[in-house]
Amino acid sequence: MPLNVKIGFFLAVRALRRASLWTTTLIIGVMILTFLNLVVLSGILVGLMQGAINAVRTEYTSDVIVSTLEDKQYIENSPDIIGLVASLPEVAAYTARYREPGTLEANYRTHKETDKPNVANAVVVGINPAKENAVTGIARDIVEGEFLAPGDYDKVVVGGYLLKQYFPVETPGFSTLDRVGIGTKIRVTVGGVTREVTVKGILKSKVDEVAMRAYFVDSQFRSLIGRNDGNVDEIAIKVKPGVDPAAMRDALLLRGAGEAAKVQTFEDAQPKFLKDIITTFNMLGAAFSSIGLVVASITIFIVVFINAITRRKFIGILKGIGINGRAIEISYIFQSIFYALVGSIFGLLLVYGFLVPFFAAHPIDFPFSDGILVAPVGETMVRVGLLVVSTLIAGYVPAWMIIRKNTLDSILGRN
């Protein structure tokens, strides 16, 4: 080890060991907060979107989604594709959905001609309740009433965004049903066929594709839309743990599923605006992190500068008795690295030992997603590296400024 590094280390260790506990705690506290600013702020921003992505994946697309081609009304040869899906050993569960646009109408019995009709446009779907729940677990999202059961007839579950009490937003061209609760009779019209049904359950979700739908049991929905050939509109597939969704997609495409349907992983199916928002939030996170890094650097600069200024006499003595200025600079660099590393280690413990599991268990209730804390280890370590490097520079510069001053002036405290 070069002599200057050895002496620098010798001086740094002793300066740290015998430093005031209060000062050390304060500096390390600043470093922990800086680390959290670097990791948590951007992590929450990204986690806000990741929460939305996770929710769409969990409650709607699952791992792989097979849907209708743009120029078709439904997935042709659906029974063949469903048979293919069912035969693949990597599939943990799947659900086939019928889907048609429709309208819901309430209070039609008491409605006067002069009243505005109490209607809402909706996507009406037919599902196998048990299979749907095995894939998406949307029964968990029921906030009033109950989820559908296989034998239910003339009963629907309505998404919260279709009801005024859950989505009190007045938007031109968009209407919600007013005064509808469990047991309310509503009329559902699909493809010109109208049926009076009872609201069995209300489902609340932050995923639009889930919350803006009305759900029937598939057997009744088939008769409602008059489709008895077994062709469906969506098939959501959940793969077994450890199976790559992309590999499942490719396996389906390889077996010809792509000829009659769109086969996408949950990532492929993300709308472009969502991908753009993720990129935007990543950029914002990076910008905030950069500001945090600058603030941390300035903090360390001030701390080291004040330390070096108050120790200017001793720096002068060290130089006077023949200690190389480089060794003194290195001692300050070691001290800065120590503060950055200890701050980062405590920060890492806090992030991975508490914050990530905490936010996973208690997501932040954002209006459009349940935000989690996203902190990939690789990216976090890059941030630790950035923090250490910026701290190193911030520690070196003030030490260099003081050390280059005239030795005798430093010893005598002259300016």
């Binding site: 010798f10 003595i317 006077g320």
Partner: protein
């Protein structure tokens, strides 16, 4: 041998120039114990700083063992100070976060000695000034006299050619001052060159030679023995 030739040091403060040393000429042969005396502002400390390479003169030169220090780079001067000089300052100038042993060992480590050897040599130096029982005390845990003895140990542990001392007893009581002076005398007897600035006649009398300064010039140069 230190030769001071036509040494001039002038301090500038804006347009105001204050000459402190006005052409000093004198030489100190090896092994001599020199006391530099003078009233406050006479230039005695400034002369010591020029001779010990802590400051650079405005004019003239300091030649040490044939090396003209004026032509040395900052690094060379630093190495010269480390390897050939020892310093004892008025206010001890110990590093507060280092123990007595570490303070003394530091220049030895900088010279490249292994830690074990440096600590052995430092321990020996501290034992020589009767501080063998205070090795692991911080300066704040030592009395003024003890701190000055640590400072002397640091100055002599690496066996420097010249020991510079700037008012080494100014902050000490009579008893502690006497101890310090006895150490200097013992070092001198062992052949150590010592150049000491002092304003105390009593201690100057213990040296071998007294150089008196006034207004930046030598007004007397007396050998006692």
């Amino acid at each position: 041998m230190i030769e001071v030739k036509k040494l001039i040091r002038t301090f500038k403060n804006g347009d105001v120039e204050t000459p402190v040393l006005k052409g000093i000429d004198f030489a100190v042969p090896d092994g001599q114990f020199v006391a530099i005396m003078g009233r406050s502002g006479a230039g005695k400390s400034t002369l010591l700083y020029q001779m010990s390479l802590l400051d650079e003169p405005t004019g003239g030169s300091v030649v040490i063992d044939g090396h003209n220090t004026h032509s040395m780079s900052a690094d060379e001067r630093m190495r010269f100070r480390l390897n050939r000089f020892g310093y004892v300052f008025q206010d001890y100038a110990l590093l507060p976060e280092l123990t007595a042993l570490e303070n003394v060992a530091l220049p030895l480590l900088m010279q490249g000695l292994a830690r074990g050897a440096a600590y052995r040599q430092a321990t020996e130096a501290l034992e020589n000034v009767s501080l063998g029982h205070r090795l692991h005390n911080l300066p704040s845990q030592l009395s003024g006299g003890e701190q000055q003895r640590v400072s002397i140990s640091r100055a002599i542990a690496h066996k420097p050619k010249i020991l510079f001392a700037d008012e080494p007893t100014a902050n000490l009581d009579n008893e502690s001052s006497r101890v310090i002076l006895d150490i200097f005398k013992a070092l001198h007897r062992a052949g150590q060159t010592i150049i000491m600035v002092t304003h105390e006649e009593e201690f100057a009398r213990e040296s071998e030679r007294v150089v008196k300064l006034d207004d930046g010039q030598i007004i007397s140069d007396t050998k006692h023995r």
